[in-house]
C-alpha cells in the first residue's frame, strides 16, 4: 500500500470549495441573466441563496486544507505557534505552480464572494435597490473567479506525470462540471428547504415552459443541472476511455476504477449511479414534460431535496475516489 499524503482535509476542501465556487458562478450568472427583476424576482432569490452560501463554503473548505499542511501538524505537535501561519508564504510570492496561482485565485474568489454576499445580506434586498450596481459588478467578477477556482483544482492534480490517473486535461473539466452541478444542487437544496411552502408550491403549479421563473426557478435549476450532469457523464466517459486506451501507466492506473479494481465499487456505485445516473433519471422525469410538451413544471419538494442530496453525495464521492485513486497508483516500471 502506498502512502496517501492527501487525505480527508484535501477531499473535503475540493468538495466544499467546489460547491462554493459553483454556487458563486451559478448565482452570478443567474443574476446577470435574469435576476434583474424581469422574472418576478424568482431568479433573484436563487442568486441570493447562492451568494449567501458561497463564501461560507469557500472559507470552511479552505480552512480544512490548513489541517493537511505539514507545518500545521508540526506546530501543533511541538508547540511552534508561528508555524500555524506558515501558509502566509503562499501569498508572499507568485509563480507558475498551479497551487500558487490557485491560492491567489481562491483568495480573490473568497474576497469577491464576501463582497457579493454583502450586497444580498439585507432581508429586503431586491432587484433595483441601491446595491444593484455593485451587486451586478461583483457578479461579473464572480463568474470568472468561480470558474477559476472550480477548474484550478483539476489542473493542480493533473499537472504531474508521476500521477498518471490525474495527468489528463479531462480532470480539470470534470472537476469544473462537478463544481457547477453541485453548486446548482446546493442552491436547489436551499430553495427547496427555505422557500415558503405555500409560495413554492403555488408558484410551481403555475409554472410552464414560458413562465418557468415564476416557480422560483426550480425548472431553471433542474434543467441546467440536467445539462451539467449530462456533460459530466461525458467527461467521466472520456476520462476513463482515454486512460484505458493508452498503453502503460495511465491504463495501469485506471484499473483501480474499472470493474475488479480496488475502488471500482465506490466509483461505479457512489459516483456514477448515486451521483449522476439516478439524479439524471429523476430530473428527466420532471423536466422532459415541461421541456418537450410545455406542461407545467411540478416537482414534489421531497423529490427536489432528494435529487439535490444525491448530487451532493455524488460530488463528494467523486472527489474522494479521484484523490485516493490517484495516490494509490503511480508510474509503471522503475
Amino acid at each position: 500500500m502506498q502512502a496517501v499524503n492527501w487525505g480527508f482535509p484535501v477531499i473535503g476542501y475540493l468538495f466544499l470549495a467546489g460547491i462554493g465556487a459553483g454556487a458563486l458562478t451559478v448565482s452570478s450568472s443567474v443574476l446577470l441573466r435574469g435576476g434583474g427583476g424581469g422574472f418576478a424576482g424568482g431568479h433573484f432569490r436563487l442568486a441570493r441563496y447562492g451568494a449567501l452560501m458561497a463564501p461560507v463554503l469557500l472559507i470552511v473548505g479552505t480552512s480544512l486544507i490548513v489541517f493537511e499542511l505539514g507545518t500545521f501538524e508540526a506546530a501543533v505537535a511541538h508547540g511552534e505557534w508561528t508555524k500555524l501561519f506558515r501558509w502566509i508564504n503562499l501569498f508572499l510570492t507568485i509563480n507558475l505552480s498551479p497551487m500558487s496561482i490557485g491560492s491567489w485565485a481562491l483568495a480573490l474568489c473568497i474576497l469577491a464572494s464576501l463582497a457579493y454576499a454583502y450586497t444580498f445580506v439585507r432581508r429586503d434586498a431586491r432587484p433595483g435597490d441601491q446595491q444593484d450596481a455593485l451587486r451586478r459588478g461583483l457578479a461579473w467578477i464572480g463568474v470568472p473567479l468561480g470558474i477559476a477556482v472550480g477548474v484550478y483544482t483539476g489542473v493542480l492534480l493533473g499537472a504531474m506525470p508521476a500521477r498518471p490517473l490525474w495527468n489528463t486535461p479531462m480532470l480539470a473539466l470534470l472537476f469544473l462540471l462537478s463544481a457547477l452541478s453541485t453548486g446548482v444542487a446546493a442552491i436547489l437544496l436551499a430553495k427547496a428547504i427555505f422557500e415558503r411552502h405555500g409560495a413554492g408550491r403555488g408558484a410551481a403549479a403555475a409554472e410552464g415552459h414560458g413562465s418557468a421563473a415564476k416557480s422560483g426557478g426550480g425548472y431553471l435549476l433542474a434543467a441546467s443541472d440536467l445539462l451539467l450532469i449530462g456533460f459530466e457523464i461525458l467527461a467521466i466517459f472520456l476520462f476513463i476511455m482515454f486512460a484505458h486506451l493508452t498503453i502503460g501507466a495511465p491504463a495501469e492506473a485506471m484499473k483501480v476504477l474499472l470493474p475488479g479494481g480496488q475502488l471500482a465499487g465506490m466509483f461505479w456505485f457512489g459516483v456514477v449511479a448515486i451521483g449522476l445516473v439516478l439524479p439524471v433519471l429523476v430530473e428527466l422525469k420532471y423536466v422532459v414534460p415541461t421541456l418537450l410538451h410545455r406542461k407545467a413544471y411540478a416537482i414534489p419538494r421531497g423529490v427536489e431535496i432528494g435529487v439535490a442530496a444525491l448530487i451532493l453525495v455524488g460530488g463528494f464521492m467523486l472527489r474522494y475516489v479521484v484523490v485516493i485513486a490517484g495516490q494509490i497508483t503511480g508510474p509503471t516500471g522503475i
Binding site: M1, E68, M160, T332
Partner: protein, 248 residues
C-alpha cells in the same frame, strides 16, 4: 583548463572519426568556447555501479546518521530485486536517492519557491524556513524521494549532503560505501571519475519516461518490477525496506 578542454575534444575527434562524431565535437566545442568567458558551472551527479553493491545498507545508515533523518523516513535507501527460480536466479541491489533531476517536477510545482535547483551546482534543495508542508512535491516526485520531516513539518529529501559537498567532501553515502559502488562528482568536468563512468558505460536512469532527466546514473541496474513478473510469469520479489512497501 581551457586548453585542456579543447585537447580532449580534439582527441575525441581523432579517435572517433567520421562525420557524425565531427558534428558532435563541433557541437561540443561551441559551448566550450562560450564557457571560456565565464567560470565553468559545477553540475553534481552520481553513478551507482550496482555490480559493486552488496546490499549492506551502509549508505542508508550513514545517511540517516549524517542527516539525522527521523524514524520511518529515508533520504537514501537500498532496494532488493530478486527474480527467477533456482538455479536460474539473480539478486541485485538498487540503491536509491534523490535524482537531483535537471527537469525537477518538485521544483515546478512548489507554490512558495521553497524547493529550487541551485544554479551553482545543480543540487535540488528545500528551504525548510520557507516550505509550508503542502506535500505537492511529494505527489509530483516520480521517485518517491521526498517525505515530510515530522520534526519540522516541511518537505525533506537527499541534497547530496550539501553541507559536506560545499566543504569539498563527498556525500556521506559515497564516503561509507564498502564496495565503492557510489561514485560522486562533477558531471561537467570531463576529467572527473563520474563523467568518465557515464561516458564509458551503458548507464541508465530510473523512469526515463517521466522526462525529469535524472543526474543519478546506474550501471547494470535491474529495472524489473512486479508488472514484468506478471508478464513473463517469473518469480520476482522486490523489497524496498521502507514503510511504503510498494514502489511508486
Amino acid at each position: 583548463m581551457e586548453s585542456q578542454a579543447s585537447d580532449i575534444s580534439r582527441r575525441d575527434l581523432i579517435r572517433k572519426g567520421g562525420a557524425g562524431a565531427a558534428a558532435l565535437a563541433v557541437a561540443a566545442a561551441v559551448p566550450a568556447a562560450a564557457e571560456a568567458a565565464m567560470p565553468r558551472q559545477v553540475h553534481y551527479g552520481m553513478v551507482i555501479d550496482t555490480r559493486k553493491c552488496i546490499g549492506c545498507h551502509a549508505c542508508t545508515v550513514a545517511c540517516k546518521s549524517e542527516n539525522d533523518v527521523p524514524l520511518g523516513a529515508h533520504r537514501s535507501w537500498v532496494e532488493y530485486v530478486e527474480k527467477g527460480e533456482f538455479p536460474d536466479v539473480r539478486r541485485s541491489f538498487l540503491p536509491r536517492l534523490c535524482n537531483q533531476c535537471s527537469e525537477p517536477q518538485c521544483v515546478s510545482v512548489c507554490p512558495t519557491g521553497a524547493t529550487y535547483k541551485r544554479k551553482e551546482d545543480g543540487i535540488v534543495v528545500v528551504d525548510a524556513d520557507v516550505c509550508i508542508g503542502c506535500k505537492y512535491c511529494l505527489q509530483a516526485c516520480p521517485y518517491d524521494a521526498r517525505f515530510i520531516n515530522p520534526r519540522t513539518g516541511t518537505a525533506d529529501k537527499c541534497d547530496f549532503c550539501l553541507h559536506r559537498v560545499s566543504k569539498g567532501l563527498v556525500p556521506s553515502c559515497v564516503n561509507t560505501c564498502q564496495g565503492g559502488a557510489r561514485i560522486f562528482g562533477d558531471l561537467n568536468d570531463p576529467d572527473s571519475e563520474v563523467a568518465k563512468m557515464v561516458r564509458t558505460h551503458a548507464v541508465t536512469v530510473l523512469r526515463q519516461a517521466m522526462g525529469t532527466k535524472p543526474n543519478v546514473y546506474y550501471i547494470d541496474a535491474d529495472h524489473t518490477d512486479e508488472r514484468d513478473a506478471e508478464r513473463t510469469g517469473q518469480y520476482v520479489r522486490i523489497d524496498t525496506f521502507r514503510p511504503n512497501a510498494e514502489r511508486r
